[in-house]
């Protein structure tokens, strides 16, 4: 197992290097740069080429690409991601600010999704082709068909029209004021969690249906074992593996992928930072964010694989 963990960790290095090369090149292929975004997009009358050249020099954009890449890589090796080209602030500072919000939202949405998905999926499988099953299927299909941001807009409009109230607009950390924090984050967590739970519910239902048809379940039933015990002890452990994979990947996605939902609820999260970094052509910040999300995905996958072995003792890694 230890050998397997080491192998997986080492395999992350070439993967991340590949991501680094790809994002570095892709950003430079796209037309426009941070200096143009700063000085040309406001429609001002006076444009100075000298000023733009000066800014490009200050940011190192006048250097050859290989030099820019190697200096970025050298920085990463020292865990120094550099400065944002747009704000001039350290990138770690820019990300740190938004990370807490995005992580909390991802955790809350995951909790909501799991609390809904696992019991509903099991229930639908056990009560297959009854009204309960149909109701769960309608609920989950509606979740898949409804974009989170649209549900978010509906929530805000309902709160506005019915209760004349909208969630707070400025993020308050949980440890500063838990009530204010929850008043802001519970709504996007519900909007995102619903869609997320729909994926999990469907996966749980189909995996459970497959397991319930297995011989060992039939044997357990035949010998008169209590259904709840069969489900908890025998069926769930076998059915949960694909659900775990899907939900973990969704969790990783939530960290940086909630762009529109963050805009709708005006959340100062990593998704919004991502969009702003790209629209400003802030190369250094975009690169750092891509690396962060890629690393997060790799680690989530890694932990899921480890969890497989823990849940199912038949799986042994070498």
């Amino acid at each position: 197992m230890a050998y397997y963990i080491l192998k997986r960790l080492l395999a992350m290095i070439p993967t991340l290097l590949g991501v680094a090369v790809l994002i570095f090149l892709l950003l430079r292929v796209v037309p426009g740069d941070v200096v143009e975004a700063r000085y040309l997009t406001q429609g001002s009358q006076f444009q100075s080429q000298d000023l733009m050249d000066l800014e490009r020099k200050k940011l190192g954009l006048d250097q050859p690409l290989w030099k820019q890449f190697t200096s970025w890589m050298a920085g990463i090796a020292r865990l120094d991601f550099g400065l944002s080209m747009w704000t001039g602030a350290p990138i770690t500072e820019e990300i740190k600010l938004r990370f807490a919000l995005s992580l909390q939202l991802a955790i809350m949405a995951s909790l909501i999704a799991q609390v809904l998905a696992i019991p509903l999926g099991i229930l639908a499988a056990v009560k297959q082709d009854t009204w309960v099953d149909y109701a769960v299927r309608v609920f989950s299909i509606a979740g898949l068909a409804t974009p989170s941001f649209w549900l978010g807009i509906l929530m805000i409009l309902t709160m506005l029209i019915v209760f004349k109230w909208i969630p707070p607009m400025v993020f308050t950390p949980l440890w500063v004021n838990p009530w204010e924090n929850l008043a802001q984050l519970i709504w996007p967590a519900l909007a995102v969690g619903y869609r997320y739970s729909a994926v999990g519910t469907r996966m749980m239902r189909s995996a459970m249906l497959e397991v319930l048809r297995e011989d060992y379940i039939r044997t357990a039933r035949a010998k008169g074992l209590w259904l709840k015990l069969i489900l908890a002890r025998h069926a769930l452990k076998n059915a949960i593996l694909p659900v775990l994979t899907v939900m973990s990947l969704e969790f990783a996605f939530l960290l940086g992928g909630l762009v529109v939902t963050e805009q709708v609820f005006n959340l100062n999260g990593l998704g919004m930072l991502f969009v702003e970094a790209i629209s400003h052509r802030d190369y250094t910040l975009t690169q750092a964010l891509v690396m962060l999300v890629a690393t997060f995905f790799l680690f989530v996958n890694f932990f899921v694989d480890i969890a497989y072995a823990w849940i199912d003792p038949r799986i042994r890694y070498r």
């Binding site: 426009g32 100075s48 000023l51 400025v170 805009q263 919004m272």
Partner: protein
Amino acid sequence: MVKKSTRLLALAAAALLSLPLQAQTPRNGGELVFPVPSEPPSYDGHREETFGLIHPIAPFYNTLLRVDPNDRSGTKPHPSLAESWTVSQDGKTYTFKLRRGVKFHDGSDLTSKDVKASYDKIIFPPPGVGSTRKGQYADVEKVEAPDPGTVVFRLKEPSGSFLASLLSPYNFIYKADILAKDPHWYEKNIMGSGPFTFVEHVKGSHVLGKKNPNYWDKGKPYLDGFRAIFMRESAAQVAAVRGERAHIQFRGFTPKDRDNLKSALGDKITVQESPWDCILMVAINHEKKPFDDKRVRRALTLALDRHTGSKALSQIAIVKSIAGVQVPGTPFATPPEELNKLAGYWTDAEKSRAEAKKLLKEAGVPEGFSFTFKNRGIPMPYEPLGVWMIDQWRRIGLNVRQEVIEAAAYFGVVRKGDFEVAMDFQCGYIVEPDLDMYKFLSSDRNPANYGRYKDPVLDQLYDQQSRETNVEKRKQIIRQFEKRLLEEEAHYLMTLQWHRIIPHSSKVKGWTITPSHYLNNTLDTVWLTE
């Protein structure tokens, strides 16, 4: 009895008469909350160009002059740090007397030394320091501070626009000693003399300011503080105002947002509207055939039925007025009856289209000729205007394909000249001919002329009006410039002037809309009724 009732009537009348006066008496206290759709990259006004800097940061600073906060045209100079000014007979020396007793937020005195250092940084930036507005002060020879209360600007030539250029809301007055030590200090720090002092900036979230108790304008500001919340999504901004979590958004909303807010909140919402000092124009690449032929360019402008377009588009988009090179209703703007004589501005659309078709035929452009119109990937108002123009051009037999380019990539495309016809735009911080017409100078004088033409006559007219200090004579030259640009040569096409709509909480008083969303953001005159 009669006497008593007369006295009562008189008292009632007096009370009624005094009501509006009482209602207009500013109230102290409260925190103004407003969303800002963009965030400043740095805090240095001399370096940045976005309103995302002005809205949250301007309240921390003063400028030498400002526009009159009650002037809806946003063009009248008003004292700020300068109490008064004089102009020499030859029009080349401007002398400003500074207000005494003005203090920076650190308690030090603000003197002419600070004004000179700030303007030197803007006009003559030291090596390695960027100044985005340096080009506007090309006429300035030097700035002098003969004594602590006097600042003198010496110009190389007389200028009709110099005073207006000092109204720039970006020209914050910084402390000379700080600039001497580090000219980049103000990029990451805030320390001015404005009505509010800086409390915090949480990146991506908000900027907080609190009342400056030592502000030189005694009794002001009225507010205890302000909170500028960064909010990119317009639906979220509207929801914030509708949910009464925000009082006002200073940039502008769409007509639909205005109507929704008004119907939802009724009297709780006050709407201020103005022509907006932003306009979408059509750049026609003179290096591409057949657009090198002025008959073709003229046909393109003649095809646009601006009068009908204005009525229809103003219902759905942030555009309204029909305009030439100046914002309608401002001092140098051409009156509508005169503007309507220009080709493309005629009220008879059928006559215009017939003329356009005739010109295309003469130029040898066949019926159904197709070209690509490049538009910027921003929905409002680029999208509706683009769709409208394509329809208008189809009516004169042109087949136009629209190509939408991502907003940030757009300028790379037009600067390279990689287009036939493209949408272009301009936004000014103040309505002033020198600023608004600079765009149209020959491409060797201004790289922002995406039409890529050279027109020495137009350049000469620009220089003439710029030197002219007599307002009426200057107006005449501007008319000639406008006629040549939009009709005779049809170098550029004007679409419709943007229309600024600010629906704000009726609790907000003391703020007047202007054509520029960069102006009137010091917040010293703003107060809340509750």
